[in-house]
Amino acid sequence: MSVIVLLVIIGILVAAGFLIAFIWAVRSGQYDDSYSPSVRILFDDLKESKEPSSEEELPNKPK
């Protein structure tokens, strides 16, 4: 039955790990804004080149 003691200890350590991760996430503000990140990930990276692009390429024509 001493294996149960071991399991209990492991169980509590794993759970404590998640708890600490959760506390860290809350403290670092990850729960403050749940909207922006979902949009942010969809933005394309900007092209590195600084050459002026031609007008046709600009996605600015109103539909």
Partner: protein, 794 residues
């Protein structure tokens, strides 16, 4: 043919500003577009077409010079070490994914910006920048240039608490959840058949582990309940947190006793689970409530406009939200000063009664500072805004001024009374149940006791009114009907009498047919305009609009006799305009068919303006709808020239009264109240302030331009006037929702309690059911209000 502006989507009118063949509504929008294109930020428009914000064009100049002051910088900057600084701005204009994208790409616009991050729900952007490359002032000017004007207030520093309290609840949920899950594992064997066969050493190990895990739950996660219950007891009030606190203490003590006496492993799992579910319920409530109050404070609030004096001397009315420091405003007789300001010209007589309750006006000289919320009495003054304008201030002002009607809310006092007895009754039931079960089964006694305490939470009862009415207000706000507070909904519901003002209320203030009988020189027109612009009366405003081109002279000894007219000394000539009695000193014959404003200059009678009214669209239909259910009255300050027309619209049942001065109107309302009627007064905010204030519900009709007056309880946009009836009817539906929610809540309590006293409901099930009931009531109230609004409000 008109096109939509590429930047902001507004109609460009007949002559759009063109840039690369694309239409823009103004130069400001074109500049932003150019700026974005130069820096290859064109994808701004692909994320959300026409995402931009239109702003009155204006160069920043020295407007933000104050941001260079060391002292101010220190207060605003969150971090300032060496060459790196960090700052957070509140930008109300943030509204879509494009805004987010652009603001997070600020470093493309200026290399001095290192990184920027947007918090969308709070409309904030945090920016880290190199202060040797871009100063705080330059940064703000950059934001202003792309039309994301930050709202800077030095009070910002105090309101950081919001985030931390939200985070605290989350932390508590996390810790309670952690303890709950683990204790449940330790208690699991006890729930199974044969659980009693577990060896004693394991039993005590599990017990002690559960006890340790419960410690943070009791001493950290539940401290709000203890604190609230303690505060209540200190003020000799039994509040709804007391039974919860009692339940927690009982569970904890009983369980600790069992563990340390070796008789069992207690109810620590129930205890942690209880807190876990209750905190989740609380978190959800907070979130919904925050969304409601945010909208109330910043977003859908009433559209206040002010008269700004442009650099070329012309007057323009702009929304309050566009007002900035350094702007010069014209404040006319009886208008409210929107923010702290310095007097530039004119004789100021400021009445602070809305702020301090002191009605004696204070006289101020040029150069003196006046505070937001004061009301000018006398001739118009010009002021320079010296402090950031906060819509909040006016909201507060509006809410402050509510000494009347208080303690009248039948609903709220009912809820309070019920909650008070509720708690006492619940504690008694719990005690009785415990005593009964003590003789039968000791374990069940604790179960029944705590279950009763936990399940019988009047939360649902307490939440119904704020959420139903809060949502109703929100729906009204979306449809341009702004209420002062939730109390107004109840007042509207109870009303049985409606009193209308005429000019500016049922007539269109913009659509006067105006002509002058007699002849006026240009100089005389200038004199008339100079006089009329001091007044906020609809007729004066119509005349000012009519004489748009005339220059303005300085006025002295301005006097406004309510319901009579205006007089002042301009260029050493006495100019008088107003009713026949005021100008000609006689009661004029009564066969008039239109409103007239008589004019005399330097003692000589010059003629009169003839103004023909056009009635608001849908007036006939509205009156028809209202007349069946409400007693209607019409009070007009005008002569009875339109009596025939009006009695045809209002029908024979309506009491029409003409030549009423503001004092007469007030008296009239007072008499109606004496007869036991609940009165809605619909009028013009400034000129009928007395009557609006006296009535149970004063509704101000706001056409395009609106001058704020805290005297009323509700503001209705002139465009929505025809829908007034459906708004008033909607309050009845709101009340019905409240009653149904009460019913649900009571039913729930009775069913829950009947199970709890039998001891068949474990505290943990009670703890799940309790927040579920709160959440279901909140959801029912919000959803049904929104659904009904969609169906019944236009």
């Amino acid at each position: 043919m008109s096109q939509a502006c590429v930047h902001c989507g507004e109609d460009c009118g007949k002559a759009p500003v063109l840039y690369k063949d694309l239409p823009f509504c103004c130069n400001g929008c074109k500049t932003v577009y150019q700026l974005l294109n130069e820096k290859e930020l064109g994808s701004y428009y692909s994320i959300m077409p026409m995402a931009g914000i239109k702003v009155e064009e204006e160069s920043a100049g020295e407007k933000y010079a104050w941001l260079d002051l060391e002292e101010i910088k220190n207060k605003l900057l969150e971090f300032n070490e060496g060459t790196i600084s960090k700052v957070t701005f509140f930008i109300p204009a943030i509204h879509c994914a494009s805004c987010l994208w652009l603001l997070e790409n600020l470093h493309q616009l200026n290399p001095g910006v290192m990184a920027s991050q947007v918090n969308f729900p709070k409309k904030e952007v945090s920016i880290s920048f190199k202060n040797d490359q871009i100063s705080l002032r330059k940064l703000v000017e950059l934001l202003a240039a792309i039309h994301y004007i930050p709202e800077i207030s030095l009070k910002d520093i105090d309101k950081k608490k919001d985030t931390s309290s939200n985070r605290k609840v989350l932390l508590k949920i996390g810790i309670a959840g952690f303890s709950f899950m683990n204790t449940m594992m330790y208690n699991f064997p006890d729930y199974l058949p044969g659980g009693e066969l577990i060896e004693q050493e394991f039993r005590s190990l599990f017990g002690i582990l559960s006890f340790l895990l419960a410690l943070p739950v009791v001493f950290y996660c539940s401290n709000d309940y203890f604190l609230s219950a303690y505060k209540g007891l200190k003020h000799k009030v039994i509040n709804i947190d007391l039974p919860i606190a009692l339940g927690i203490i009982t569970l904890f003590l009983q369980s600790s006793y069992e563990v340390f006496s070796g008789s069992g492993i207690g109810f620590f799992d129930s205890l942690s689970g209880l807190l876990f579910f209750m905190l989740i319920g609380k978190w959800y409530q907070n979130k919904t409530y925050q969304a409601l109050s945010f909208e109330r404070d910043y977003k859908s609030y009433f559209p206040v406009a002010v008269n700004k004096i442009m650099s070329d001397g012309s007057e323009q009315s702009i929304p309050l939200s566009d007002l900035q420091q350094g702007d010069i405003l014209l404040i006319r007789n009886k208008e409210i000063i929107p923010a702290d300001a310095r007097i530039v010209s004119g004789q100021a007589n400021i009445d602070y009664s809305f702020v301090t309750g002191e009605a004696m006006p204070v006289s101020k000289k040029i150069g003196d500072t006046v505070f937001g919320g004061g009301k000018q009495a006398g001739s118009a003054i010009q002021i320079e805004i010296i402090k950031e304008v906060k819509q909040n201030l006016l909201t507060q002002l509006w809410n402050q001024n509510q000494e009347k009607n208080q303690a009248q809310s039948v609903l709220n006092s009912l809820v309070n009374r019920v909650s008070k007895y509720f708690t006492v009754v619940i504690i008694l039931i719990a005690l009785v149940a415990m005593i009964y079960w003590l003789n039968v089964d000791k374990r069940l006694a604790i179960y029944a006791f705590t279950s009763v305490l936990i399940i019988a939470c009047p939360c649902a009862l307490a939440l119904t009114v704020p959420f139903t009415f809060g949502n109703t207000m929100r729906q009204f706000g979306k449809r341009e009907f702004y209420l002062k507070n939730t109390q107004v909904i109840e007042d509207l519901y109870r009303a049985d009498t409606i009193v209308f003002d005429k000019t500016g209320t049922i007539t269109m203030s913009k659509a006067f047919q105006l002509s002058f009988e007699g002849s006026l020189s240009d100089e005389e027109e200038a004199l008339i305009k100079s006089l009329a612009r001091h007044s906020t009366h609809p007729l004066s405003k119509a005349i000012v609009t009519h004489l748009a081109d005339a220059p303005v002279h300085e006025t002295h000894e301005f006097k406004e006799l309510e319901g009579m007219g205006l007089s002042a000394l301009i260029r050493e000539q006495r100019v008088i305009m107003g009713s026949a009695a005021m100008v000609l000193g006689e009661k004029h014959s009564r066969e008039l068919t239109e409103s007239r404003v008589y004019v005399s200059i330097a003692g000589k009678y010059k003629g009169y303006y003839r103004l023909e009214n056009t009635y608001k669209e849908g007036l006939g239909k509205l009156i028809e709808e209202l007349s069946g259910r409400y007693e209607l009255h019409l009070l007009s300050g005008d002569n009875d020239s339109e009596k025939a027309v009006l009695s045809r619209i209002f029908g024979s049942g309506t009491n029409l009264h003409f030549n009423q001065s503001p004092t007469d109107k007030l008296e009239y309302i007072r008499n109606l109240k004496k007869e036991g009627k609940t009165v809605i007064m619909i009028g013009d905010g400034l000129n009928d302030a007395g009557a609006l204030h006296e009535s149970h519900t004063g509704i101000t009709i706001a056409d395009d331009v609106y001058q704020f007056s805290p005297a009323c309880e509700a503001i209705l946009s002139g465009r929505q006037f025809k829908n007034l009836f459906s708004y008033i009817r909607f309050t009845h539906k709101s009340l019905r929702i409240v009653h149904i929610s009460f019913g649900i809540s009571f039913l729930y309590n009775i069913v829950g309690l009947s199970f709890a006293v039998q001891g068949i409901l474990s505290p943990i099930v009670a703890a799940i059911l309790m927040p579920v009931s709160s959440v279901s009531v909140v959801a029912f109230a919000s959803l049904s209000v929104n659904w009904l609004a969609k169906r019944h409000l236009k």
